[in-house]
Amino acid sequence: MTFTIPIENGDSVKNAEADSQRTLYPYVTGTSIVAIKYKDGVLMASDMGGSYGSTLRYKNIERMKAIGKHSLLGASGEISDFQEILRYLDELVLNDSMWDDGNSLGPKEVHNYLTRVMYNRRNKFNPLWNTLVLGGVKNGETYLGMVSMIGVSFEDNHVATGFGNHLARPILRDEWHADLSFEDGVKLLEKCMRVLLYRDRSAINKLQIAKITEEGVTVSQPYSLKTFWEFKAFNNPTAGAEGSW
């Protein structure tokens, strides 16, 4: 079964007009996703912001969605491309369930399908401008993987996108361990999200945590983290810099 991804006049190699339809830059973007494996499955955290350049324009964007029965997809990067990917996956899951034969797509299959899609788009110089995190549980096996917009794909016990790679993963490398309880997992994710909130300009203080286990997906209601700004250094930040304000 082939899944065609139709773009009108899409062949930019042969058609000059199609060139103007290639993705050159992202416009409305989501920031980091952080995800970890824990005892019962996968926990994933993201904020609900959609930035328009440096403006925090949209504050109610769900960047994590359930895929089929066994997977959870989180995305950072261009929101419209994420929505497009959700459409492809919708079709994939629909066709899979139409077989009605006791087989179903697991997280590994979805991850690899996405890898193929992302890599193929990259080869046509028309990428889907996202970094995707795919987590899931099937038949007792927990799976967590990532695909970038250029098709780089891998699995790990904890993954993060964007700024999360630089700010969250060091924390996870130190503090993640196998068989985290749900409470410990959430605490760990919140620790990472708090750092991101302080340091990532595109982060907003409205986040969701999603969990996926053998039973299925639950995405929490949005909530905010407590922050602390009374550090002495914040009180008079320019004390040492003459002439600044």
Binding site: W99, D101, G102, N103, S104, L105, G106, K108, E109, H111, N112, Y113, R116, N139
Partner: protein, 275 residues
């Protein structure tokens, strides 16, 4: 079956609602040498009789590996069988590439059946003249399917196709209820015994049959001559009692089955293209 005015074209119905060309294609399957499949909860065994054109040539390959978890045994026009095996391998590997996961057998079998159906509804095509026993493993366990030139497919606990397959089927009918719980070794033994039934008293030697196995934690592979001979030795050691009883039954059944099968072929020998 006799010639009639509705059997020239595959796209012509008979007044009684039959497509004779499709039925003739199914006759071709009966002309090929026997192929047998059986499955347990965790394993599938496919076996075939090695038939050679002449003493000078090697025997035709009738069992093909489609993937680590799927094998197929054919009977009928081997050329058609080879082409369909190639199609199956292609579908399987494309699925593996996209999803890094084995193609569920049930889905492969449906695609194969749909492909065969197309040939029953085009005036410029003919049906594939080969029956396929597809054995494989997927999430829901071990499966054995039979794909027909008509585009139908059925799932079986055990089945035999090709010439003198009725003898094998009778043997399998007696035993099939225990197959689900059979051990791998017992399953192989039953497959070889079923093959023996189709040989009509010819002594069973490992050179006369090909046996393949696949199972949970065991990718598809052929058994070597030695292993097959070892299994044969375990039951050929009781020649007098077993063979008389067994062969007597087999012969009687085969004798009654043979005229029915050969009636279709009529006065022709097996065509050289069919094995």
């Amino acid at each position: 079956m006799f010639r009639n005015q509705y059997d020239t074209d595959v796209t012509t119905w008979s007044p009684t609602g039959r497509l004779f060309q499709v039925e003739y294609a199914m006759e071709a399957v009966k002309q090929g040498s026997a192929a047998i499949g059986l499955r347990s909860r965790s394993h599938v065994v496919l076996a075939s009789v090695n038939k050679a054109q002449s003493e000078l040539s090697s025997h035709q390959r009738k069992i093909f590996k489609v993937d680590d978890h799927i094998g197929v045994a054919i009977a009928g026009l081997t050329a058609d069988g080879r082409v369909l095996s190639r199609y199956m391998r292609s579908e399987s590997i494309n699925h593996s590439f996209t999803y890094e996961s084995p193609l569920p057998v049930g889905r492969l079998v449906v695609r194969l059946a749909d492909k065969a159906q197309v040939c029953t509804q085009r005036s410029w095509k003919r049906p594939y003249g080969v029956g396929l026993l597809v054995g494989g493993l997927d999430e829901s366990g071990a499966h054995l399917y039979y794909n027909c030139p008509s585009g139908n497919y059925f799932e079986y606990q055990a089945f035999a196709i090709g010439s003198r397959s009725q003898a094998a089927k009778t043997y399998l009918e007696r035993r099939f209820e225990s197959f689900n719980e059979s051990s791998r070794e017992d399953l192989i033994k039953d497959a070889i015994l079923a093959i023996r039934e189709t040989l009509q008293g010819e002594t069973l030697k490992s050179s006369l049959c090909t046996v393949s196995v696949l199972g949970v934690d065991e990718p598809f592979h052929f058994l070597d001559q030695e292993s097959i001979q070892k299994v044969i030795d375990t039951f050929e050691k009781v020649p007098e009692e077993e063979e008389d009883g067994g062969d007597g039954e087999a012969e009687a059944e085969a004798a009654s089955a043979a005229p029915a099968e050969q009636g279709g072929a009529g006065d022709q020998d097996v065509a050289p293209m069919e094995m």
